[in-house]
């Protein structure tokens, strides 16, 4: 067993959840391995120190007042006409409706601009480079609250820079850029991801999206 495999046992021993058999194996290893012994001491000292850390203070009545404040925020984000809140069912349609409108605009822009696409670059690059910067900024401003598809529409600085200088894009899909945009819930990545809510996208989805992008003949 190499040292990598002892890490979990070190944690388990320090957390007090190690089995007697594993403890025996770990003790045997610690007796002969200086590196793991150091880790063991350090982890133990860290847990001791952590136990001494006091929780932060919460203002008095914070939890008593939280619910009304949440409702105020919900109402503020969903005022209808003349300050009258919209019915719940309409409020719930707004986020997906906004998402659909935004995605529709992006897709529309894409088809509008499709003839000028350069087939030598990848789908993502073309998509990014063809969406005008001001449209992305408008997207950012147009959706001010959460929805499963459009939780945050704020374009990252990196995307804006990329859009501003599409010539600087590399030939291959930039994995970091895709990840970054997924994290920011950007419209086009969400669109390409299908119906998955932003928070449900993981690394496997990123791979899938990159694959889709590579296969997309824009």
């Amino acid at each position: 067993m190499d040292c990598e495999k002892f890490r979990q046992l070190v944690l388990e021993k320090r957390e007090g959840s190690i089995s007697p058999q594993d403890e025996k194996i770990l003790d045997g290893h610690l007796a002969t391995c200086g590196g793991c012994r150091e880790d063991f001491e350090l982890i133990g000292a860290t847990f001791d120190a952590l136990r001494d850390v006091r929780d932060e203070e919460v203002p008095n009545h914070y939890f008593t007042n939280l619910l009304p404040r949440i409702h105020r925020r919900i109402d503020e984000g969903s005022r209808g006409f003349a300050g009258v809140p919209l019915p719940l069912w309409i409020q719930r349609l707004i986020a997906p409706g906004s998402a659909a409108a935004v995605l529709g605009s992006i897709v529309g822009l894409y088809f509008l601009l499709a003839p000028s696409f350069d087939p030598s670059t990848s789908g993502l690059q073309q998509l990014v480079s063809q969406v005008p910067r001001e449209d992305l900024e408008q997207v950012a401003e147009s959706v001010s609250y959460s929805g499963p598809l459009t939780r945050t529409m704020e374009p990252s600085q990196r995307l804006l820079e990329t859009v501003a200088s599409p010539a600087s894009l590399s030939q291959n899909v930039d994995r970091d850029l895709v990840s970054d945009q997924l994290q920011h819930g950007h419209s086009f990545t969400v669109f390409l991801a299908g119906d998955s809510p932003v928070e449900d996208i993981n690394e496997e989805d990123v791979d899938l999206i990159i694959k889709k992008l590579d296969q997309t003949s824009l």
Partner: protein, 182 residues
């Protein structure tokens, strides 16, 4: 204490009952506050994110299919919104320490032992704040929330093996920060 399960309340909420939503908020507000607060040491920032978490729940409950438990979904939203907030602030935030524990009302000098403890607390908080995002999330859910790895795995959508490695590195890094200073 209401005996209805989360799923029952969610169903009632989906059917239009605001009271069911209120009960879900009351049931989880403290847990979510502390998860967020440990990601964002500033109370006001944490408060803003906590409200946003529940607003998101209110608006997005239709997308909750019940494939995972409600609190898994909730924790995931809280983690993601906290990270968004951290990223949003990153560019203009200089590293600052929450010095609430450093201040004391009395003008009397603190005993050496207490000063040492406070310095250690300050270092630990700073160390947690500086952990890489992934390690920070795992550390908070494992150490503070005491969640089992399989639940953290569902929340963060990461393999248990990866989580264990992240947790080990997080604890070790905190220890090294404390040992060697920042």
């Amino acid at each position: 204490m209401d005996q209805r399960s989360d799923l029952e309340l969610i169903q009632e909420f989906k059917n239009g009952s605001n009271n069911a939503f209120n009960l879900l908020v009351l049931r989880y507000q403290e847990k979510i506050y502390w998860v967020v607060r440990r990601m964002l040491p500033d109370h006001d920032e944490a408060d803003d994110v906590v409200q946003e978490v529940f607003v998101k729940v209110y608006r997005s409950i239709g997308s909750f299919k019940g494939d995972s438990s409600f609190y898994t979904w909730l924790y995931r939203i809280a983690m993601n919104l906290s990270l968004n907030e951290i990223r949003r602030k990153k560019t203009r935030r200089t590293f600052s320490l929450d010095d609430s524990t450093m201040q004391h009302e009395s003008t009397d000098p603190l005993p050496v032992e207490q000063l040492e403890k406070e310095e250690q607390t300050r270092l630990i908080k700073a160390a947690i704040e500086r952990l890489p995002e992934k390690q920070k999330k795992v550390f908070i859910l494992r150490y503070y929330e005491e969640l089992p790895y399989d639940q953290i795995s569902k929340i963060l959508k990461t393999s248990v093996g990866g989580l264990k490695a992240n947790y080990f590195h997080a604890v070790k890094k905190i220890g090294e920060y404390v040992k060697h200073g920042l």
